[in-house]
Assembly symmetry: D2
Homo-oligomer: 404 residues x 4
């Protein structure tokens, strides 16, 4: 029953197929390896703790799914770095959606581990020292490949050499994952190529700025007409604030400043692409890109939710001041990873700030519509632009190697 | 981040503990084995199919959790076969509840595999032949240990020698799992020992029969008083039907007949115990036993739900008449496993049939309450009674061996 | 906190907006109505049963969501009956997906009601007689609007006049929902218009038949070459079976016979469209239609899952033979609604039967690709074809009325 | 089909019961009220926005479930304030568990509302001004009844008079909910009465302190024996830290200081009770109380998770700096409610800090076990002790009134 889709191959009694060579279910899944990898340290110490088995199985299940997520992530990154025809966009959609579904199961899985109570855990946790969770190589790779940047990590979590120090291969994979283009970077480049951004073409950004100014001016007129003075004041104040917000995307130097402070991540151009896609998501051309943006936010949200569930469980399991020392306690450390610094696509979450009512959105003429053809090839063109900026290069060799 | 509860052991910079010997996270979890057990057959055939990776990971995750369920099941069976103090009942509760949570995740996990579309699957399924899902040794063990009986399986699924024929160890484990007392059997014996059933004591069964008869008689009087004839007739008919239903538990020979037809599973005495527990579930003494009965139903329901989700997915993946031949097609076979025959605790689901309104439930005097002390030891006493009936014996050696 | 998206309107202290007129949260949501509609019958009878409150709230929550589902369903049906530009397909996708999410919550919600135990329920269910669940007008409407046909209902569930007999308006809505084109019918017509089916054009059906025949012939050659006799026989037999299956869609008379037996639902042409979409789902043109087919299956699956969870709960709550009489018992009745007869899109689930490996799928030339333009207008064209067949007509008046 | 448990009452054709008077399903559920409370403001303004319907239904579903949670909460508070026999503890367990299940559905429900995109929302949100989410009376009541204290609220959220200013009844209910004993307070008093705390009895606290001191001393000896100096130093330092943590519960004045700083909530005595229950959770006597503590944490966690999902959705819907001004923006405000200040049972989460390994837990002799009888009556005894401390009084009148 374990294999839900193989039943069509079941054969009736007296099946002549049994002569055929081939691989049995358990052999195919290499279950001899997978199901013999549960070794209770407490048993080795002759004080078997029943719940250690659950502890091991849960973490192994996590790691299996991490591997699948990384597998999908690598394939998505590879597609993103090539020409993006719509057929491929569809494949990206499918795989990002799969990652989302896996993350949902991972979030739910926390509940299973919660059935282990603190007293049970205390019974075997001493045997494990100094094995430690933040040694999960795959989770670190996953974060790096998504685009969690080293400079955004809490100091405590930055230095991996100590953690994987003895494992050269692991170290190499970490370093490689940091040097290769992350999903966030590839998405940024893809957004920069959004059709419609060309100044001598649809010139979206110009039209958008005009529309916003119109909107703000109309609202200023309405505000000025309010008879009650303090209400009028309030309204005008509010408008001034909103204008300031818009200027943060209109004026490149403000955007740059926010980038430097780490409050924004995407380049100015990429942000424009994201706003374009969000405003025109009902155009068939931008429907799939819009779904991609949504899935990227889902992934960010779910990883944060997972961290959050973790924080709650760790607090339950070991309390919030186990060691009494501020920074190094598990709970305090984990809580700090909940901040927006660990959110890779934080700019997408903030896009709503810049939306304008449908009536103000610049219309697309049918001639313009045909202009908005395929995304441009990412490899040649965009690399030139970014070379200097990021100092990053997608070398075909290294990249492919990692992905395949 | 993978390990949610180990963070307390993380050490600040300059950690002097790094001198200490101990096991690293990946080493402890034997990830070298677990994460190197994914081998794509399609890749071996030089036609790599992206989605085969998902297929393998999903099934391995299932198998990991099956192992955990079996582990908990064995421990629960061991406790059930011993004296049951309340402390132990609590442990049973915890572990059954854990099985329930795991099954819920397994049910949800089906959705991940569903992201593989039929066309994708078609691309690599030929490489697998004749590997087949019902070769999952662990699922077969799980069913046997729960108490799915060989005679209730569809014919097609009975003969395991063909499936595991080449793997002697596997065969041995299957045979052992069939010969040892299943959870269903141990629960049955435990129910037979329910305090309060003793005729020369609280004599629950006698009191219950009196109460039912009183209830039916009162309702007959009410029915007889109905002025409209056809309504009166209807009511009386209905009552006659209900009386018949009750007689199926009052008359041992009817119960026996239902047992033989496979419509009941529990012995007459066990059924009495289950009814007692359900009626007195608000008594502290019976609160935990009642929760156990509920969890057993949950397990049965969830396994059926899992089978059901499977059926829907298989129908989606391979259609409902792939081979065009009735019995052997995957969909038709799976659909047949949804019947009540595969439900181990079907009697518990039907208990509601025999409930009576609170006002009619025989009261427990405070003297009686003290009589309802601990469950009797299952080992000595009950085995005598059942020896002849089931021809089964819990031999300490064999049993313990399997469980530990 | 209840309103998650209104917080931007919260004002700082000394908010001058308080002068403004406008609607308060509770007023907007008409909470005076919604939150005063809980009236415990047991309380009226001076024997308040705590759990009746849960019973009422749960059912009201179900009905609220039913209303939302019907609302989305009506809007989707309206779009389907008009020209379908890609922009609109996107809207259909969004709304079907919303229905899917709602159904998932409804499935989960069953667990809340399960916390009411049979004994609790017994305490107040007598007050309700003869209020009965299958009187839910909205669920009946929902089924009809989806396309559950009267002739496929179990006899017992057919006659609604008795159920809604006293409520003329309700009766009228039921009749209207049966006479208007259901989602299933509109989807069927839309599938019949799938671009690529035209014989004097891409001629998909001709090409597909050629491909299938090629595939079967190749496999026959392979089978004939098998040296072991009984294995060869088995293979040839299997192939004969598969050929028979394919003939069920190649020969219109067999298809017609299956339609009459109720084993198929879609017209021959619609089935062809569905197969086309499934095979070419990676083409941008068919990506959204393919997603629509998937969502339709999701809806069918989830409604069946919901029915199934119900069956399990009802069995738990009232047992499986409450009245002792076959057909009329709640459990037996509900179980019967699980059959494929209640599945509206059963043909979609069976599509996998007719898939062929990617290598055999007829390629689309780039000239053909441009031919596969917009779906044709459903209103004019298709109605002519179907007029005689179904005797149904989408009259603008009646239809619009119902939908708006 | 809507009513899952009423099917047993369905009658066969020719049902003579139709003569009987009684209430129909829709009438019983007052669906005429519930299903006619959806009024789209956008429709009134002749610019119907499709998605406003979803917005209304979702919020009404939330409010229905809020009502159910408050209903269960009130009943649980009533039971807690009386003598607590084990039968009643069981009832508390059942109802808290029900609240947990409801909260889980509420958390999932957020996903449905997320299908409304920011642009859709923008289309109708202007009609709503100044209706605002934090005007949900019931959510405010729910928080107050749980025990969120006014002084812990962010300033912005404190002043409800402005929000409910025009609705006298609402205002009255808020004030009442603040003056009556919250669940947190009643749990605190119940914990203070934990059997085993009496100094002249089992004297748990004395024994526990002895055990902790023994444990720390042993570990000090081990640390002193470490040969490497900096490792020895580290260990001793760590131990000093841990000793400090324990002193925060050993020394009443430190505890008092933490209370005043808002880092602890429970009285010193209540904390002792909670520790006792957690350490002896395997004793049948403390099994149910321990489950209660777990459910209370679940409730706290789920409400925080719900807030958290909200924050993510609001960020997605309106961005994080809509108004550009720090404190008053929706996102910033909501984020601030995620802090531990809004967690009512934060002390329970931190209990793990004070656990000790099983081997050090003071054993309970069988004579002691019988001493640990029923919880004392909460009403008389405890009120005296607390009178002066909290200035709160459970007046029978007021309290009952609110609850019934």
């Amino acid at each position: 029953m374990a294999c839900p889709v193989r039943h069509s191959l079941n054969m009736p009694d007296g099946d002549p197929l049994e002569d055929e060579s081939g691989m049995l279910y358990g052999e195919y899944l290499m279950l001899d390896k997978v199901l013999q990898a549960q070794r209770l340290l407490s048993e080795k110490h002759n004080q078997k703790v029943h719940d250690e088995h659950l502890f091991i199985i849960t973490h192994q299940a996590y790691e299996l799914w991490f591997k699948q997520i990384i597998y999908e992530l690598d394939s998505v990154r590879e597609i993103f770095s090539e020409i993006l025809e719509e057929t491929e966009t569809l494949e990206i959609l499918k795989r990002l959606n799969r990652i989302v579904l896996i993350l949902k199961v991972l979030v739910d899985q926390v509940m299973i581990l919660e059935t282990m109570t603190p007293l049970d855990f205390m019974d075997f946790r001493n045997y494990l020292k100094p094995a430690s969770g933040f040694q999960s190589l795959q989770f670190r790779l996953l974060e790096n490949k998504l685009g969690v940047k080293s400079e955004n990590r809490v100091k405590y979590n930055k230095d991996y050499t100590k953690v994987f120090g003895n494992d050269e291969k692991a170290l190499e994979r970490v370093i490689q994952s940091e040097s290769q283009p992350s999903l966030a970077l590839l998405v940024e480049r893809w957004l920069e190529r959004t059709p419609g951004l060309e100044v001598e073409g649809f010139n979206f950004w110009g039209k958008y700025q005009t529309a916003v100014n119109l909107l703000l001016e109309e609202q200023r007129q309405i505000a000025l007409a309010v008879p009650v003075e303090n209400l009028r004041e309030y309204r005008l104040n509010d408008l001034a604030n909103r204008r300031e917000v818009y200027e943060s995307i209109f004026k490149p130097d403000i955007h740059e400043a926010l980038l430097n402070r780490g409050e924004r991540r995407f380049s100015h151009k990429a942000l424009q692409g994201a706003i374009l896609i969000t405003l025109y998501r009902d155009e068939p051309r931008f429907s799939q890109p819009h779904q991609i943006l949504n899935l990227l936010m889902d992934i960010d949200s779910l990883i944060t939710k997972w961290r959050y569930n973790h924080v709650l469980m760790v607090q339950r399991m070991i309390g919030s001041s186990q060691l009494g020392t501020g920074g190094s306690s598990g709970y305090q450390y984990l809580r700090s990873t909940l901040s927006d610094r660990y959110k890779v696509f934080v700019d997408l979450f903030n896009l709503s700030t810049f939306l304008i009512p449908r009536a103000y959105i610049p219309p697309i003429s049918s001639t313009a519509r045909t202009q908005l053809s395929l995304w441009r090839n990412g490899k040649g063109k965009v690399l030139e632009e970014n070379d200097s900026k990021n100092g990053l290069e997608i070398e075909d060799n290294g990249f492919e190697e990692d992905i395949v």
